[in-house]
């Protein structure tokens, strides 16, 4: 049986093997809806395949992928604004208690991240969740390091406020 031709080259395929899980998580916390994650993740690697010749190696491949994922996420967030969120799969009742708890905490953070500005969110997720050094974060979101630190601080404060509010509500 002839093997189907891959849509991405072997180098990008290797990047997928190594970093797909991180890209997936990044997309999720930076605001792509759960049900859009497969498409968005796929798009990141299609773009990576196309842009590979431009990769100069001045950052780690993973960091480079985050840059692509940032732009992909932006378009998906925009689509999300056009199509009302409604009852997406976040409302699906998880079957197991452990799974429920896991989802709850992740959703709580996603919810809080939804409450803050996009620019702050990107810096926060890149630095706090993906653990990129601030220099790299600033390069990815195309701002100065001081600005990035400022956004990080604002993001933390805003998230704490949002979470406090959530705690009061419940």
């Amino acid at each position: 049986m002839p093997e189907p031709e891959a849509l991405i080259g072997p180098v990008t395929a290797r990047l997928f093997q190594a970093h797909a899980a991180e890209v997936w998580r990044f997309l999720k916390y930076v605001g792509v809806r759960e049900q859009d994650l497969p498409d968005a993740c796929q798009e990141v690697f299609l773009v990576a395949h196309r842009k590979l010749p431009e990769f100069r190696g001045d950052s780690a491949p993973r960091t480079w992928l985050y840059g692509i994922a940032l732009r992909v996420a932006k378009t998906w967030r925009r689509r999300r604004q056009l199509v009302p969120l409604g009852d997406d799969d976040r409302a699906v009742a998880p079957s197991q208690e452990h799974e429920r708890e896991r989802r709850d905490t992740h959703e709580l953070l996603c919810w809080a991240l939804d409450q803050i500005s996009e620019l702050q969110r990107e810096v926060f997720v890149l630095h706090e969740i993906e653990e990129l050094p601030m220099g790299e974060v600033a390069a990815r979101v195309e701002c100065g390091v001081f600005t990035a630190y400022s956004r990080l601080r604002l993001a933390r404060n805003a998230l704490k406020r949002a979470l406090a509010e959530k705690g009061v509500k419940r």
Binding site: L7, T105, A112, E130
Partner: protein
């Protein structure tokens, strides 16, 4: 109900992993091979992984999907696999295929090439342990997956399968995974000197590989034996 604070939420988010099946589905769409949790089932005690990682100052990310298992895996599948692994292969292993040592020079300049130096040809023993029955028809991920599974019980077979992969998919997407399996298989089948040489070559060739903690753990195991 009290909620975990921001720091705790972030810590949990760092451990958040996509379901392997979800990633596999994306891989299918892209028509590329994908091993959902690469090599995670190779038994490296999580304590060993942790100590190696700590020594190297590796980020948590480098360990994702690895034997450190229970803390990072969401599916539980791989953790289960890890638990199933016996510590050592059977008491009286069959004769192993001998792999010729690599030349020193070949190792020294192995860094820029696309693949590790070619594995020398194995001379399979006459007993019908060969992979020809099915391995030649498996696709790339299947081959790697079988090799990985064979590591725990039959390193000799794992080695043969890895070599089959090298023959059929010399520029395959899972070449790095194959090299790691080969290292483990060599070490487990008693060819420790060759395993050590290749592990050192691997370190030099893939300084940023996500498999490096495993290779280094293997090296430190070999050193302590």
């Amino acid at each position: 109900m009290t909620h975990p604070d921001l720091n705790e939420l972030v810590a949990r988010a760092r451990r958040d992993r996509a379901a392997p099946a979800a990633l596999a589905a994306v891989a299918r769409n892209l028509r590329v091979p994908f091993v959902a949790a690469p090599l995670a089932a190779i038994a490296v005690p999580s304590t060993a992984m942790a100590s190696v990682a700590a020594k190297l100052g590796l980020s948590r990310l480098a360990l994702l999907g690895w034997g450190a298992g229970s803390t990072v895996l969401t599916g539980g599948v791989v953790a289960a696999l890890v638990l199933q692994q016996p510590e050592a292969p059977a008491k009286a292993p069959p004769p192993v295929p001998q792999v010729q040592p690599m030349k020193g020079e070949a190792l020294a300049k192995s860094v820029p090439t696309a693949e590790l130096p070619e594995a020398p040809v194995v001379t399979p023993s006459p007993e019908r342990h060969s992979v020809k029955d099915t391995a030649t028809t498996w696709d790339e991920p299947q081959l790697i997956e079988r090799a990985r599974k064979a590591l725990a019980t039959d390193p000799r077979r794992a080695l043969l399968l890895a070599q089959e992969h090298q023959r059929r998919f010399p520029t395959g997407a899972l070449g790095v995974e194959r090299d790691v399996i080969m290292l483990e298989a060599l070490a487990r089948s008693g060819q420790t000197a060759e395993a050590r040489r290749r592990a050192v070559a691997f370190e030099a060739k893939y300084p940023k590989s996500i498999h490096l903690p495993r290779v280094r753990a293997l090296l430190s195991r070999l050193d302590s034996e």
